[in-house]
């Protein structure tokens, strides 16, 4: 059912690659942008699209699966409506990010890294958002948040679960 859409996205990405690098560019070079486009379109890498992706790029399904599983960004399951990526790296640790993680777990039953897709919000771990001077930092969907505190977290959770 998704096949037509996948073929369309694949031809777009392969064409862009070849326009940039020339006709001899290996189509596999379009794999990451294509997977990103699929995830953008459907919210996750719909498992039954993998065969089409492999066909379109002339690579094996195992190759595609290997890539999908290698990168932390790719999901094989539907995502929540909202995603909060909480920075767990050192600079944010020094500013109390671990307390925020504990707060999410104890107060909201949202354990970072163990998202439940049917909830309005899934919380993931991320290791540095480049906001290390104004931590603790988090990325709520595409919004970067600095100097995050429990109050702000509570508001985000409440808003996302509405």
């Amino acid at each position: 059912m998704n096949t037509d859409k996948i073929i369309e996205l694949a031809s777009r990405e392969v064409a862009a690659l070849k326009a940039f690098l020339g006709p001899d560019a290996p189509a596999q070079g379009a794999l990451l942008p294509l997977l990103q486009a699929i995830q953008h379109e459907f919210g996750y890498i719909v498992p039954d699209t993998i065969a089409t992706v492999a066909d379109e790029l002339n690579i094996s399904q195992a190759e595609v699966r290997g890539v999908v599983s290698f990168y932390h960004d790719f999901r094989l399951e539907r995502a929540s409506r909202h995603t909060l990526k909480l920075c767990r790296a050192e600079a944010c640790q020094s500013l109390g990010s671990e307390k925020l993680a504990a707060h999410l777990t104890s107060r909201h039953q949202l354990e970072p890294g163990h998202g439940k897709p049917d909830e309005g919000l899934s919380v993931e771990n991320v290791y540095c958002l480049g906001n290390c001077g104004l931590g603790p930092a988090a990325l709520f969907d595409e919004t970067l948040i600095g100097r995050l505190d429990e109050q702000r977290l509570d508001a985000i959770v409440a808003g996302a679960r509405k």
């Binding site: 942008p33 290698f70 932390h72 050192e90 290791y127 290390c132 001077g133 104004l134 100097r147």
Partner: protein, 511 residues
């Protein structure tokens, strides 16, 4: 009367603490009062504790206010900030703020000063002087000027950039590539991001110069997906540069977006990723300079390395080499982060001590408690105790002190830090991010986490501390790349400098 020019940063850090709301509020308030203002979304000046930092153009130069919240806007108007007048948030003339005034900015000259996406602004502030000059030089002259500058790779390994360019220039290939490593995965670093958001044309110019130098016609900028603002900024800048024919078929650029893998900052893994593969590290040789992207000779450099090229070519390699100490020439954009009172971007010649940076410039901890540990160089960098803070920020001096400068990120911790937890985190991070190719890295790191957990639980403490040290030796000796090879640095520095944190605590508390 012409509109007053007001600067409100578009930098992600400033936005993360409300810069967009501040800009919107200024627009609304000016409209309400019938005043003409022009808002410019500049990059960040790098004084992060003052963000959102609002600047007003006056005859004497920009006047600064900060940190500004949207709720402050009406009182700022009441106080006539449009005329540069005084207000409780006044900071005076921006250029006179000591944090900024005492820097030696060669790379960050325009950042915070110009509109990042205005080519006119870029040109008016010295932009394209390097590329224009490079067009009059022979490729070999460009390469030799970079060699003469002493510029070393700012991504971490510190390899001389000129030597790398020379290798690619002399390599044979039907096509060659310039790849910019904008994966900036190290905790405590944000300089690459600030360049991409605050002066993207400088990076484009640096890559175009590299292209001329080595005979490459295509380039990729690989940006981590955790940087949505930087991605948008670079994509827009490339589109503008294409329209202005700064980029064309003779040299063109494209952005590639990472997919959440720290290891893709490692150069060969990054190339695999662009090729559409798992980001697994390649064995070297062949070097990317000989067989890199799609098997073609490739220059791969960090954002800051490439961004230094325009200044060097415009002013000469010798002028750049006059800054710095020993074999670390030029300036380094240092990034002061974590629990520090005045966090930010501080560009200065190599040679400042950690102590000066953290106390004189950074003002000590934000919490007001004593500094206990400082991690330099990201998650693979060593933890420095107070007794080593006189170490100079220079590649060799850091190495001699058992650490590394890396990408110049400095993360400060106060005395509430538990160094056993930090050692455990280093192993944990390695386990999460290992590409899986070598056993010592993949399995050793997981064993490291388990063993440190046993030490924490006071199970056979001495035996397990010895085991952690053994694991570190195996990882150091048996890893293909620096992820497995350098994870022992934070672990061993924690053990060596903070042994008390690995001592039996329950018993100590009971005694």
């Amino acid at each position: 009367m012409s509109a007053v020019r007001i600067f409100v940063p578009c930098d992600a850090a400033a936005v993360s603490v409300g810069a967009d709301e501040v800009a919107a509020s200024i627009t609304a308030e000016a409209k309400r009062r019938g005043l003409a203002v022009e808002i410019i979304r500049n990059g960040s000046r790098g004084m992060l504790w003052l963000e959102p930092l609002v600047e007003v153009a006056t005859a004497k130069g920009p006047v600064a206010y900060g940190p500004v919240r949207a709720a402050d806007i009406s009182t700022l108007f009441d106080a006539n900030f449009l005329g540069g007048d005084s207000h409780p948030l006044s900071l005076g003339l921006t250029e006179e703020i000591s944090f900024l005034k005492n820097q030696q900015r060669l790379t960050f000259t325009r950042i915070g000063v110009t509109d990042p996406l205005s080519l006119d602004d870029y040109r008016a502030h010295g932009g394209f002087a390097g590329l224009d000059k490079a067009r009059t030089l022979k490729p070999v002259e460009i390469v030799e000027d970079i060699v003469a500058s002493g510029l070393r790779g700012r991504g971490g390994a510190g390899f001389p950039a000129g030597i790398k360019w020379r290798t690619v220039a002399s390599a044979q290939g039907s096509q060659k590539f310039i790849v910019c490593n904008a994966d900036e995965g190290d905790s405590g670093t944000f300089a690459d991001r600030m360049v991409m958001e605050g002066d993207p044309f400088m990076l484009i110019e640096g890559m175009a110069i590299a292209g001329l130098a080595v005979g490459a016609t295509r380039g990729f900028i690989y940006i981590r997906s955790e940087y949505p603002h930087a991605i948008r900024s670079m994509q827009r800048a490339i589109a503008i540069a294409r329209r202005a024919r700064v980029l064309d078929d003779s040299f063109d650029l494209d952005v590639r977006i990472g997919a959440g893998a720290y290891i893709c900052g490692e150069e060969t893994s990054l190339l695999e990723s662009i090729e559409g593969k798992r980001g697994q590290v390649r064995a070297k040789p062949p070097l990317p300079a000989h067989r890199g992207l799609f098997g073609k000779p490739t220059v791969i450099n960090n954002v800051l390395t490439l961004a230094a090229a325009p200044w060097i070519i415009a002013n000469g390699g010798k002028a750049y080499a006059e800054y710095g100490m020993g074999r670390s020439r030029g300036t380094m954009p240092l990034q002061l982060a974590g629990n520090v009172k005045y966090p930010g971007l501080y560009e200065t010649a190599f040679g400042m001590s950690l102590r000066e940076l953290i106390f004189d410039i950074g003002g000590g901890t934000a919490s007001g408690r004593p500094v206990r540990a400082v991690q330099v160089g990201g998650p693979l960098g060593a933890y420095f105790p107070e007794s080593l803070l006189d170490t100079k920020l220079d590649y060799e001096a850091m190495l001699a002190a058992g650490g590394m400068l890396g990408h110049g990120g400095i993360v400060v911790f106060d005395d509430s830090v538990d160094m056993m937890k930090q050692a455990r985190f280093a192993m944990h991070f390695c386990a999460i991010e290992s590409c899986g190719k070598c056993t010592p890295c993949r399995i050793g790191s997981t064993r490291g986490v388990e063993t440190l957990d046993k030490i924490a639980a006071d199970i056979e403490r001495e035996k397990n501390v010895a085991l952690v040290r053994d694991l570190c030796t195996v990882m150091t000796d048996g890893s293909l790349c620096a992820l497995g090879g350098l994870t022992p640095l934070p672990v061993l520095s924690a053990l060596d400098h903070f042994p008390e944190d690995f001592a039996p605590r329950l018993r100590a508390a009971a005694e």
